[in-house]
Structure formats: C-alpha cells, structure tokens
Symmetry: C2
Subunit: 249 residues, 2 copies
C-alpha cells in the first residue's frame, strides 16, 4: 500500500495564509477531497482529480478518501482553517477506527492551518492573549444541555471564549440562548468580536459591547470571540483594539 | 507618522509552517524585535536591523518596538507560534495602552501563525477536534489558585485541554500539581500528549496514559494536550492516533 492520506488546513480564506507545507501537499496530490467551497479553492491542474461534496456528509467523504488512499492514490482532504479544529480530521479518524483493519497501515498525516479564531483574534488585537476556550455552538452532534453547561463553566473559569458555528438557518435559537446566558452572567463592559469571513473579500469585523449584541450579528461564516473579565478595549481613530492582558489577579 | 508595527507569528519552528503573509512582512521590515531564539530564525539581509532581547523583558521590548515605529521605522515583532496566544501581541497592546497618546495613531497589524497546540495536535491526530481550552500553566503573571480553579472547571466542562509553558526550572511544582489534580479527577484511560519542539530537529511526541504521566515528561519547549473523556486512541503499527470525535453524548 503506497497511497497517502494528508488532511490539510487551507486557513481562513486568503492564499497568503496557507502554509508552504500545505501547498506542497496539494502540489503532489492526485486527488483532493472536501466540502464544495473548500475544494474550489484548490487550483485545477493536469493529474489532479477534485472530489467535492456537500456539507453534512463528512463521514462518507472520509471513507471515500481513505478508500482511495488504500488504492494507492495520494489523497489530500481539505478543510478551511485548521483541519483539527471542528473540521475534517476527526471525521477521518472516526472512519478509520470503524473501517477495515488495513486502513490503519496507511501513511496518514495532518498538516495544521490558521484556524478561524486565530485569524479573527489577530484582526481585533489579541483577545485570546490569556487562557481561553473554543466551543462549537452547533447542537447537531451534541445536546444543547452540554453546550449550556460548558458555557456556564467557561464563564465561571473566566476564560475568553471563541465560538465556532454560532448560528445557521437550521439552528436560529442556540446563539440567542448563548447571548442571553452571557448577558445575564457577565459584566456589561465585556467586548464581543463578530468576525465574518476574515481575509476574504467578504470580511467584516465588529466589536460590540455585550449588552448590545443580538443574534443576527452572526451567521455560519462568523466566528464570535467573547473577552474574559480582564479583556480591554483601546479606543482610537479607526477600529478599536481588543486585547486580554498577560496577567490576571 | 509613517512607521508601521507588525506583530507576527513564526509558527512552531519549521520554515514551511510560516505563512507567506508573515514572510512578506519580514521582507519589508527595517527592524525585527523579539526574544533571542526567535529573532535568530529571521535571515540576515542588508537594511535589516535585528534587536534580540532576553526572556521576561516583554514590556521593554514592546515599548522599544512602538518607539521605533513612532520614529518612522517598519518594525516587525516576532513571536513563535501565533503572536496572540501567550505571546507578544498582548505585551505590545499593554505598552500601547500605557504609552504616549500618539502611539494609538500607529499603523499596527497582527499576523496570525500556527500556534504550538495546533502543530502538536496535528502530529498526534486530532485531539482538539471537539470543544477545548488552552491554559498557560506559568504562575509568573497570575496566582496559582486561578490556574487550579480553571483546571477544575475545565475538567468539569469536559474540555480537551492544551497546556502552554507547563514547566520550567524556576517553576518545577506547578505541573506536578496539575498532573496530581487530573489523576485524581479524570478516568485512567485519558490520553495525554507530550509534544516537544514540534517541526524542529528536536521534535519528540509521546502519547502517555494519564496514570503513567510524570512531571519530568515536560519542559518549557513542550506543549501538553490532555484529551476529554471522549478522546480515543487508535493503536496501530507505529505511533498511535489520538482524536476527539465530533459528537458527544
């Protein structure tokens, strides 16, 4: 079995946020597998076959990629951001664990990428400069009660928080409940960053005080970062800077 | 004032993990500022002045960088990993907030990088594939009681956890206490990843079951990742794969 499976992160959108390591893997691939808009980001070339599939078929896609690698192909699975943060790497390993024993002998690598929260944080300043957590707000694959429990404990721990998948048409309620919980339990001064499609032409970054936040400010292309109790806003001409100091009392 | 201040992340060590965006900023810099080993990673060239300083002088370094930018230089502050995660960006903004008002008019940008936990996670599989937190275990700038509180709440929230700066010669006790707390409160099956100097020639990645972990397994160049209760280990010939599934009960 000489095939390879490489699971890569394309970063948040801009080509100059893709690592050279990932570009090399793409240059050597025979097959690229992923969600339609991410596969579209990979340039066509002779010898490269693209396999684009829709959202919510992550396991099928993972099995397809593993099967092709087992057949001797050099397969690259693409995610946006980092493949290990709420993305394809876990789906591939779920499929690997449940699949034929021979798949475990495959040459599998994960290549990191710039995940959305780091790109968003950089645009706003350094809101994740101290201890923080990352929570996927989608309740497609976990009960809402677990999300709510984690939110409450994250507030108690005084983590800054990054929220992935805050809101979709199919799940309009979750982010509303999240905001209500935070507005009830956190001080009014806490800054919230809505960072949409960072580094693409659709980029929008807004800093909003917690009491002014509404659910409509986020969609599926938005990462939301909520400061800790220590997070500060530096006002100036132009966009404010949001950062969390290195020290905490 | 035409100077610029760009705060960049050099990633965990390998050159092919530095984004092209960061390479462009370095190519245009007149001055590079940072901790000695990170400044050493930037190639010398005519027109570039390097300002390397020792550890623990982050605020002095930040003020120096801001001052040079205010004088019209194109200054790049380098961190390893991502500059916004336990690195220089927060120090720069602390200095900016406390400094002369004119500094707020500077053109300041933060360019993200591959932070250590993402490089480490990629090597091991996808241990951060579900909700997780990142905690700096150094008590130089916060009380140990706060670290302990966060650890307990992170266990209760069932986050996977990434620990930065787990242990240094000056702080041999903290990581020992951390392991003792986890060994007391988490199941014995929980995998722990010790990832040292990932992507450098000194790279070492070990997966150890929680009861077998000892403090000596980590040093200042190590990132430690502790799985959640759901994290799984796939055994195979060669290194095991550690991943956290996308779903949780």
């Amino acid at each position: 079995m000489t095939g390879t499976l490489t699971i890569v992160g394309l970063g948040p959108g801009a080509d100059d946020l893709i690592t050279p390591e990932v570009q090399s893997a793409l240059a050597e691939a025979t097959d690229v597998v992923g969600y339609i808009p991410y596969v579209a980001r990979v340039a066509d070339r002779p010898g490269l076959t693209k396999h684009a599939s829709d959202n919510r078929v992550e396991l099928d896609r993972a099995q397809h990629a593993l099967g092709m690698a087992a057949d001797g192909r050099r397969v690259v699975v693409v995610s946006s951001g980092d493949p290990g943060v709420f993305a394809m790497a876990s789906a591939v390993f779920e499929a690997l664990e449940a699949g034929p024993a021979e798949w475990r002998g495959l040459d599998i690598r994960v290549l990191p990428g710039i995940t959305a929260m780091l790109a968003a944080a950089a645009r706003a300043g350094a809101p994740l400069g101290h201890d923080f957590c990352a929570i996927n707000l989608s309740d497609n694959l976990k009960p809402w009660s677990l999300i709510e429990k984690r939110l409450k404990l994250a507030v108690e721990a005084d983590f800054a928080m990054a929220f992935y998948n805050p809101r979709s048409k199919a799940r309009p309620q979750g982010f509303e409940k999240t905001l209500a919980l935070l507005q009830k339990t956190c001080a009014d001064t806490r800054p919230v960053i809505f960072a949409r499609a960072v580094s693409t032409r659709d980029e929008q970054v807004n800093v909003v005080a917690l009491p002014e936040c509404t659910a409509e400010m986020a969609d599926m292309r938005t990462v939301v970062i909520v400061g800790s109790s220590q997070t500060r806003v530096i006002h100036r001409t132009g966009a404010p800077i949001v950062y969390t100091p290195r020290s905490a009392p």
